[in-house]
Amino acid sequence: MIQTKTIPDFSAPVHIDQVGIEERASRFTKRSIKNESKLNGLMLALNMIDLTTLEGKDTEGKVKQLCYKAQHLHDAYPGLPTVAAICVYPSMVKTAKAALGDSGIKVASVSTAFPSGQAPRDVKIRDTKFAVQHGADEIDMVISRGKFLEGEYNFVFDEIAAIKEACGEARLKVILETGELVTYDKVRKASDIAMYAGADFIKTSTGKISPAATMPVTLVMLEAIRDFYYKTGKKIAMKPAGGISKSKLALHYLVMLNEVLGEDWMNNEWFRFGASSLANDILMQLMKLRTGVYQSANYFSID
């Protein structure tokens, strides 16, 4: 395996087969997953969730409540895993860190003037350093989509590299905001730029723009990760975010992950779901499997 990292020429056009990708992505939804494999799949998906609150109206109380939920997903079901991380704004990192204590749940912070990314670079770097200083384990940055669409690939590359440097020990997730990139070609190109510039994760969306994560877009990004791994030997993690609120869809994503990247990626170090309402849906499915009775949202904590 080649271990050198030659940076490719990003100005060269990339061609993704749109029809092929969509067809392939729809195949993953046809697998039948029942009983024990469903139970294991749901447990795994639960353990991959970045439980997220990114609202202008977020308060410390709300963040503490979410952190409590992360540690006590549904106490009526003993032996449940926890979620992977809590995802908040930089101003809430300190609160989240304190609330999570030594639970092992990570704190992810969005940064770089999330969600638009329309701010000068030094502001973005300060934003990132602020979150890291307050204890963020992971940083979710947004790329400058405007610059990217103008063809300023070097600008985008340098920016990601600069934020990576500011992250220090924290793992960097790079949000492409695929809903604004429009074509799969651009999604693939942005993925490549992010990975070569030092991303630890590539992430589809902020959740503020529709469409957010879709299966075809995630497939394009997973294939980019696979090709990058073959070229450089370096594993990159993936995080689809936004629009995944049903367990069944989460299982489809896991099928896709397994069939594109394989078992090495099937854990929360290498794959995450950015979601808020997915957790409760999975919990309801798990309780259905356990009790044999269809569940009601009334009996689960609000997120």
Binding site: V293, A297, N298
Partner: protein
């Protein structure tokens, strides 16, 4: 092509009604509805528990909007259902005759249905006044009790009176602001599906009424133990099933209504008490200053 050739009739596909849509059952199964003469009438969806689950989701999401509508507006919509039914009378009579009714019986049944809808349409914004109270209390409070809809109702329609029973069951449920999932008569399902088409063209929001077809014995346990259902209604006299419904409904303290002795065809088949069966009483204590020399409030 000879013009004398007999035209091949286009038969209707009897589908189910969930969330304002007419899907087929997710299970892909069907059964053949026959009449007493043994003639095949139609292929009808044999619904599974997953269809029921989907219907509950639809009913739950429709509940907020439907229950918070002005009572008067609910009355208007019930009236509209009656209007639509009147316009399609012939089709219902035809289907009832196919399912072993005589013409006179069929006409009577459809007329009764229309009248019953009008009856409950009128009650929509009136039953609250009859069943609300202002309660005398010994402190400075204005204390009043008002009925509020129970929530999502899962009902198994009567096997006979396939249209009248269905309408008599649905009308008071939705008049009171509830949403419902109804399992149509297994032996006579045709009118239920056609009634769904009437509902769908009557300004009734999707999901307020969901109609399934299938086997009672298969679906009853799911009707009774779904945690997101607030009441179960059953109209047959089968004691074992009644017992099972009561036991399973205890899981989340559902209301259980057994209408096995109700005669839908006569006047006792309609009353505001059918609406009240699916209402909860909310009592409010509102602080006020003392009124009058007696220092008593209301």
């Amino acid at each position: 092509m000879a013009t004398t050739e007999k035209r091949l009739e286009v038969l209707k596909t009897y589908k189910i009604y969930i969330g304002g849509q007419f899907p087929r059952t997710e299970s892909g199964r069907y059964y053949i509805a026959t009449n007493k003469k043994g003639e095949n009438l139609a292929n009808v969806c044999l619904c599974s528990r997953k269809d029921f689950r989907d219907a509950v989701v639809a009913a739950r999401s429709a509940f907020g909007g439907w229950s918070s509508r002005a009572a008067f507006n609910r009355g208007q919509i019930l009236y509209r259902i009656a209007e639509m039914l009147e316009g399609r009378k012939a089709q219902f009579i035809d289907e009832l005759i196919k399912q072993d009714s005589t013409r006179v019986q069929a006409e009577n049944e459809v007329n009764l249905c229309i009248d019953r809808l009008i009856y409950y349409s009128g009650w929509c914004d009136k039953f609250q006044q009859l069943f609300s109270t202002v309660n005398p209390v010994a402190s400075s409070h204005f204390n009043f009790s008002v009925p509020e809809p129970t929530g999502v109702v899962a009902a198994i329609a009567p096997q006979n009176d396939s249209l009248l029973g269905l309408v008599s069951l649905i009308a008071p449920i939705i008049a009171g602001g509830n949403t419902c999932i109804v399992l149509a008569s297994n032996t006579k399902p045709l009118c239920a599906v056609t009634f769904a088409e009437v509902l769908n063209s009557s300004d009734l929001p999707g999901g307020v009424v969901n109609i399934l077809t299938g086997k009672v014995s298969e679906l009853v346990p799911w009707f009774a133990d779904h945690m997101d259902v607030n009441a179960t209604v059953y109209c047959e006299a089968d004691e074992a099933t009644q017992k099972m419904i009561k036991e399973k409904s205890a899981l989340n303290v559902k209301r259980v209504l057994l209408y096995d002795k109700t005669k839908w065809t006569d006047a006792s088949g309609q009353s505001p008490y059918f609406i009240m069966d699916l209402q909860e009483i909310k009592t409010t204590w509102h602080p006020i200053e003392n009124i009058g020399g007696a220092k008593a409030g209301y």
